[in-house]
């Protein structure tokens, strides 16, 4: 397994290669924070697989991710390479249908 160093290039690669990415405390199965749990719950409602990154797995993760994304809090939800916000925004966008719409509008290529 190659080493992951939480560089901007490595983080960018994750969000470029996956339509839905969730940086969270813990995992969707074992979330370590109520807000991360809520974000994972929202993503699980969508008809699109998502990738989750446990930012508690490495002490370098939180400062690296926050600096790269220019957002100081966790969780962070990415759709098609773009930060949409934390769990508060993800929930609002799910409830309004906007989130599913974003996924439907831009079907995965290849």
């Amino acid at each position: 397994m190659t080493e992951f160093n939480w560089t901007a290039a490595e983080l960018q690669k994750i969000v470029d290669e996956n339509r839905l990415v969730l940086f969270m405390k813990g995992t969707p199965e074992q979330p370590q924070c109520g807000f991360s749990s809520r974000a994972a719950m929202v993503f699980q409602q969508l008809e699109q697989p998502f990738v989750s990154v446990n930012i508690l797995s490495d002490p370098r993760a939180i400062p690296s991710v926050c600096e790269w994304s220019d957002w100081p809090t966790m969780p962070q939800c990415f759709v098609d390479g773009e930060l949409i916000g934390g769990s508060d925004i993800a929930l609002d966008m799910y409830e309004s249908g906007e989130l599913q719409q974003m996924i439907d509008e831009k079907p995965q290529e290849g």
Partner: protein
């Protein structure tokens, strides 16, 4: 950044002396959006998890993250020291706020204890 986080972790974040008050939270949000209607709630009773509702007609046509960004930037130093640990931030237009009226603010710790991990629930309407 790393240094600030390390310092934040060392601070005694459960000491009430160092906790923000509701008044302080409202004032800080008002520095960013002076005309907004601001409502805050300490969702855990520990002064560090805040539900913050900001209602402003100027949000019309703005994406949710754009609405939050100035507030998040303003709070960034306080988040870095962990003075403010968590913000559940809802930036709504007056119209959206009306639609969401009656929603129960999400309590992250209650959610963990009860195993309820998800979405906000509507309060039952009182019988008239």
């Amino acid at each position: 950044m790393t240094e600030l986080i390390a310092r934040g972790l060392k601070s005694d974040r459960f000491s009430p002396t160092f906790m923000p008050t509701a008044e302080w939270m409202v004032d800080e949000v008002k520095k960013v959006y002076p005309d907004a209607e601001v409502e805050v709630m300490d969702t855990t009773g520990t002064g560090d998890h805040w539900f913050v509702k900001v209602v402003d007609s100027s949000f019309e046509g703005m994406r949710l993250i754009q609405r939050q960004k100035p507030i998040i930037s303003h709070f960034k130093p306080h988040i870095a020291t962990n003075y403010v640990h968590a913000l559940d931030l809802k930036c709504w237009t007056p119209e959206q706020a009306k639609e969401k009226e009656g929603d129960t603010p999400f309590s992250p710790h209650e959610a963990r204890r009860s195993g309820f991990v998800g979405l906000q629930v509507k309060r039952e309407n009182k019988e008239e």
